[in-house]
Symmetry: D2
Subunit: 342 residues, 4 copies
Amino acid sequence: MTKIQAAIVGASGYSGEELVRLLLRHPNCELKIITSRQHDGQHIEEVFPRFAGHNLKFSAPDVKRIAAECDVAFLALPHGLAAEFAKPLVEAGVVAIDISADFRIKNTAKYKEYYKTDHPAPDMLARAVYGLPERYRKQIAQADLIACPGCYPTSSILPTAPLLAAKLALPEDIIISSMSGVTGAGRKVDLAYLFPECNESLRAYAPVKHRHLPEIEQELAAAAGMPEVAINFVPHLVPVNRGINSTIFLKVAPGCTLDKITAAYHDAYAAEPFVRVLAPGKQADTKYVIMTNVCEISYTLDEHTGRVIATSAIDNLTKGASGQAVQCMNIRFGNCETDGLL
Amino acid sequence: MTKIQAAIVGASGYSGEELVRLLLRHPNCELKIITSRQHDGQHIEEVFPRFAGHNLKFSAPDVKRIAAECDVAFLALPHGLAAEFAKPLVEAGVVAIDISADFRIKNTAKYKEYYKTDHPAPDMLARAVYGLPERYRKQIAQADLIACPGCYPTSSILPTAPLLAAKLALPEDIIISSMSGVTGAGRKVDLAYLFPECNESLRAYAPVKHRHLPEIEQELAAAAGMPEVAINFVPHLVPVNRGINSTIFLKVAPGCTLDKITAAYHDAYAAEPFVRVLAPGKQADTKYVIMTNVCEISYTLDEHTGRVIATSAIDNLTKGASGQAVQCMNIRFGNCETDGLL
Amino acid sequence: MTKIQAAIVGASGYSGEELVRLLLRHPNCELKIITSRQHDGQHIEEVFPRFAGHNLKFSAPDVKRIAAECDVAFLALPHGLAAEFAKPLVEAGVVAIDISADFRIKNTAKYKEYYKTDHPAPDMLARAVYGLPERYRKQIAQADLIACPGCYPTSSILPTAPLLAAKLALPEDIIISSMSGVTGAGRKVDLAYLFPECNESLRAYAPVKHRHLPEIEQELAAAAGMPEVAINFVPHLVPVNRGINSTIFLKVAPGCTLDKITAAYHDAYAAEPFVRVLAPGKQADTKYVIMTNVCEISYTLDEHTGRVIATSAIDNLTKGASGQAVQCMNIRFGNCETDGLL
Amino acid sequence: MTKIQAAIVGASGYSGEELVRLLLRHPNCELKIITSRQHDGQHIEEVFPRFAGHNLKFSAPDVKRIAAECDVAFLALPHGLAAEFAKPLVEAGVVAIDISADFRIKNTAKYKEYYKTDHPAPDMLARAVYGLPERYRKQIAQADLIACPGCYPTSSILPTAPLLAAKLALPEDIIISSMSGVTGAGRKVDLAYLFPECNESLRAYAPVKHRHLPEIEQELAAAAGMPEVAINFVPHLVPVNRGINSTIFLKVAPGCTLDKITAAYHDAYAAEPFVRVLAPGKQADTKYVIMTNVCEISYTLDEHTGRVIATSAIDNLTKGASGQAVQCMNIRFGNCETDGLL
């Protein structure tokens, strides 16, 4: 069997680095091209010393070359820029797996509201599939443009969607409080992300209108079978490298019991290779999922307030970005879904 | 002026250590007695090397000696045990400032429900004042038994009470998501608190029925003028030494505006020496309050869900325990309230 | 090809956990037995939630069963105890790969001096091979008892031995200053290793007579072709989970130049899959080797003092313990040496 | 008594922030002026939220105004720039306490070798006193220009000088291995100091020719009564906010015993308010000195190599910079030396 030939467009950030790490270990995929304008011509080891010994050089992005040599291109680019590459790549027959925000949000007005710019390729939106395998596996298997979810949305949708879909929780009253490690901010050279500014610091940011909110609302509305939901989502920056922990507060629907919740999770995830629903009484912990593609989910029913508290833990760079992208590639190209991810 | 003579009963934990640190720097207080059964006879520097040079030895707790030599006794003991000392000390004329849970909860049934034991001194409860100066300053000034709030309650009540008192938020729908540093667990030798088990780990714990919940509910009910409220409170353990960040989600009452919220905070805290309400758009950050007695508060109004999001940051060992206890002592003994705390 | 059948004796510590992680991913090895007296009967996920989904249970150690079912047994036990298992296992035909200290030190008097007990199986010492592939690959390929080096020795010997062997540095004047993450202390429930006692703390420990010292001295004497060397080795505990960085100060021999040093490292390691010698001017960094089996080495010649400063970085649990053990297994059983380790 | 009127020139870095913190608490000093070109006109709370409530604004530096209003100016500026301010300030009668490197090194050729520029004010060097009170207290009391030591030199000289001065250790063979927290790099927005680049990372840097080396060599030569010494000094960057731990390896002189070492330290430091020499067997730990002006020193004699191993711990921003500067101010202006520092 010939290996899938892959390119990473924009490989010099933390998600790009994680994609490189995963693809270099992948049994059925060959990483052919890694691009970076800034590092054009540099050996990968100059940017990421951990990859010394691998024969890979950064080059400037070149759609024609990617189309000629690759089956799949991962786009680890800023939003806006990703769409510029996605369109010609897809048109040239390359499967594009985008880990930017460009094709996640179906509503272009929402995109503009949150990203402060017109959508760069609205004609491509209809072709884009939301790259969350646990919700859209069949569509991913057929897609030429896969829009991988954001890290917070992955951590929010996985524990919440099954309860909304099963009508065990009310969609009107959803509150999500998340904590993220600092790689979530990207490899951005900014005072706020210096070690002494983050270490021994706990702080919320963007408590309203975080850019991941419309994506969470879109997907949870879909799960609930409603046109729209309005959600509170507050992210916090905490001093770890990797990991997101999201705690979700849901008002129970009439008739909801702990057994029904357990059953809903079992139905949704018993067969999923990368979702681990914990036994009652245990709590999801990022340290058990770091450097893996797993999402841990824990849950409790609080009788005295009538709320379910669900908690999830993922690695923001793996299940929250690059691992999920590889999972999507596996699905799309007929690999075993766990290839390169265990 | 003669200095206040002080004892710390149970001085070998993190709160005890912080009390020692604060009292040794206090201009109007002399730390005479520090007790610890475990370390009886040891010089303080053997347990806490930072206090080398101070002439203090641990002794076994001795109520008679404390009563003879001291004006005030800080109780930094496990719940249950604190009450055993509080009673004879108060009866002997010593002001007891308790940082355990024993006298925080007025309802003995709630105490039993959450602490799994009968209240050890119910007859003392009526004399106990809740040691949150921003809410009970006048009572503290007269009290002989001061029950200092827990760390999570301090971080929860300060940002929430003014909005409930001003009828700007609904008491029926309060959700609190908190993060705490590991000193919050005490100096407890337990696998769960080893460095490699906490570092690079984000996890919720006790998502229902945390022991600080009844205290939060009691005080927020009082602020709202209601007999009872039911609240969701979920604490998370995160890898910092000190600090609590609490994010509180409140449903706005009809007529609530951002200006009214601002005014309510201003009325409550403009004159408070240890509460810092941030300008809109800024977020409370534990790194700005660590090793201080300050509580930072930030807030946002989310129009699309009709919720206020208030966030607080405190040092769990200072404003969340020992600093607040010293603030109470200052009030009770007529010192300047900030003595020893700047 | 049938897979190597493996047991881990004493699998409940951090090294045991790392062995489980590596063997579960290994293409040519099947992990059959994991033992722990404390956790006898428990599913592995109860102790290590990350391994949920794998069908493995702890059992009490049983030499007969291991001999009947396994080709290789990894001993992740305290010193003293390891020898008790090594002897019957080897005699029953099982290859024993010991990551304790029991068979590292050839001199039983030294063992007694540093471990305060008579050697538990002196008759086995002659059969034991020191499990550092870069120095003893051929012997490992034949050995039935492999004594994997300690973490500090691995980080010390790899950068130092080639310079001593090439007579570029003097064996009389070797100083090693190391830093280790807290997993290096094992999964030991002790006040000194609580998160708040380690976080924001930098401290030396055991500055003389650390238990890894005789092992370093033995191997560096061998490299230098001398009966004995006396070395200063000072370890420091620093707040990371994984990783050792060792800085080694060596007095240059007459005629030593930077080029000769570079050549010596090239000769020693150019063909090694797990040693990465950095270009001059770069410094070894644990973050580039964590969760890998790689040892990074950097070096500088300080003309004004006549010393070489060599620095190494390893993951203490991987190249410093369990990864190296798997590397030894690969060599011993004729696998590709990197199987399961990339 | 009127308070000392103080200015901080260049108050927007970490050392400047620490100076502000210390001076705002100082009983005999009033902080009148804080300068920053970048933040000219901003309230201090906009840059350092922790100082909210203090009525201080950044202004552009103005020598005339400082001379008119202040008795002392702390220079927390980059090297080169500090000298430009020191000269006119001193000439205008202001005591200048410089925490840059400009006046530490007496030899202008060394300055040029290490700082790659001609010394900016060589005529001032003769007036400058090295601001290490434990070595130069009398001179500091008279000085108009005080050159506070670097953080690494403070941590290196204090444990080493007494042994050299007492001829207990040989000056020819001194090796210093240090670890520093990330505030040591300043508040510099650089990829290398991002949280994810520092957290879970241990690395050496500048293993030869670090800029603090000539200062250490100058002062240890002086202690040994020699014209010059050549020393190995290797700093390491480790993931803590504050703190330096230095381990120093010294070859003992003939006749040196542990008792003589103990006596030498006792003679040097028994009366020092900010040096804490630990009992044998204990090890200096940065966590016991963070946020204090204390230097902890521990020591061991290694008979088998004939070396003393001395270890020190300081807070790099306090005893390593701003606290020491305040200590010098106290000495220079006749305050109690510990004012504002306990």
